[in-house]
Subunit: 270 residues, 2 copies
Amino acid sequence: MHDLTRLSLNQATIRQWDVRQAVEGCARAGVPAIGLWRERVAELGVERSARLVRDAGLAVSSLCRGGFFPAATTAERQRRIDDNRRAIDEAARLGTDVLVLVCGPAPDRDLQAARAMVHEAIGALLPYAQEHGVRLAIEPLHPMFAADRSVIVTLKQALDLAEQFPADVVGVAIDVYHVWWDPEVLPQIARAAGRILGFHVNDWIVPLPDVLNGRGLMGDGVIEIRKLRQAVDAAGYHGPIEVEIFNERLWAMDGDALLELICDRFRSWV
Amino acid sequence: MHDLTRLSLNQATIRQWDVRQAVEGCARAGVPAIGLWRERVAELGVERSARLVRDAGLAVSSLCRGGFFPAATTAERQRRIDDNRRAIDEAARLGTDVLVLVCGPAPDRDLQAARAMVHEAIGALLPYAQEHGVRLAIEPLHPMFAADRSVIVTLKQALDLAEQFPADVVGVAIDVYHVWWDPEVLPQIARAAGRILGFHVNDWIVPLPDVLNGRGLMGDGVIEIRKLRQAVDAAGYHGPIEVEIFNERLWAMDGDALLELICDRFRSWV
C-alpha cells in the first residue's frame, strides 16, 4: 500500500483514545476510515458519535461487534439475538454497512451444538439486517479462542456457514492474525470472492507475549501480510483494510505517535 | 476406559521424575506403558533406560521426539535429518516402533517452503525408518504453535502429508489438545484409519493458564475427550493412550500422587 486510501483505524488499536479523540486523530493523520466498537460508541452515544465521524469526513469501515450467540437456554439465546438487532441498528445509524460477528464459545463442551446455535441465530437476524442495509461479517477466530470466544475457527468453516445465506447479507471478515497459519488460507480466500466484507491486519510476534493482548504491529512478526493482502485483492476485495491490534505496550504509547507508526508500517508491510 | 490396560504415561507429564523414577512409579501404579523423551533418556543412557523398562515389564508407547526439519540452509537441514536418524536408532533400541515427529517452524515467514522441507525430510528418513522397524508419527500441533514449533497444524494436513508415504512407515499421532477445536476433526479421524500411531489425552483449561505449559488434567477443561477417543477406536486404533500434560502446577506435585490422579481421571474421562 503506497498510500493510505485503504487504511482504516480499528479504534481498539488505540484504546487510549475515546471516539472523539480517535476521530480527531484520524483527521490529523489523514486516515480516511475508522472501525468503531459498540462500548466506546456507547460512552458518547450513537448519535453524537455518528455526527462526529460524519463531520470529520471519515468513513466507518465496520462496527465491532455482534455475535456471542451460543447459550445454554432458549431465553438467553433470544436475548443475544435481540442484542444483535440493536447492534445492527447502531451500525446503520453510524453509517457503516458491516457488523463484525465474533460468534461466541459453546456454553458447555458441545462444539457441534454451539455451531448449530450460531447458524440459527444468523438465520434469525437475516431479515432485520437486510431491512437495515447492514451486512453480517462472520469473523473466524484463531483456534486458540475456540473455548472462550468463537466456535468458528477457520475461514473454510466461516464460508461454509456464510454460503447458507444470501451473499448480499452474510459474508466474512478476514483477520491475518486468525488465519495466517492455515494450510488452506489461500484457496479459501479465493473461494471467498464476493463474500469478503473486511480485511484486518496486524502481526504474530514470536514468542507470543499474550494470547489476547499480544498482537504485533505489521512487520514485527512472522505473518506474510502482503501475500495475504494480495490474495484478498485478487479475490476482488478493494475495501478498507483495518489495522486491529490488541497490545498492552502499544496502549501505553501516545496516540498520535502510535498512529504515525501504524501509517508507516501500513505503507511498508501491507 | 474402565481399566488401565491402554494407559501410557508420557514421561513429560511427571517431569519431576527421571526415567528410573518414572519406570518404578508406573510399576507401582500398575501403568503398563510409558512414552519416553530423548533428553531424559540421554541422562541415563539409552541402554540403561532400555534395560530398566524391559526389566519392569513396561511397554514403550513412543519416543518423543523427532522432527524440527525446516532450516535456512541445506547443511542445517541435513544436520536435522542426521539427528532424526539417531532418534530412530534410539527408538528401536528402547523397544518402541513409534517416533513422534514435531515437524518444526519455518526459519523465516515462508510457511509453504517450510512445509516442503518437512516433506523432503520425511522422504529422506523413510528407508532408514523402514530398516529399523520404526514408524514416523507426524503430530499436528495446535495452530498457536505454527510460528515456533510446527508448520503442520491440522490433522487433515498431517494426513495429506502422511499419505504420500507408505502406511506401514508414516502415520499420525493425534493429541486432543492440538485437534479438539477443528470442525473437521471427526471425519479426519475416520480418514486416518490405518495411519493412527498414537493417541494423546489431556484437556484445554479455560482461561488458558499458559500456551505451552498450561494443559489440564482430563476433566478440568472443555475437550470432549471420550467422544474423540471413541472416534479413534472406531477408526481401528486400539493401541496405547498416552497421557501427555505440560503443566507447571502438576510438576510441583508428588509424583505418585499425581500418577494416582492421572489413573482416576483416565478412568472417568477417557
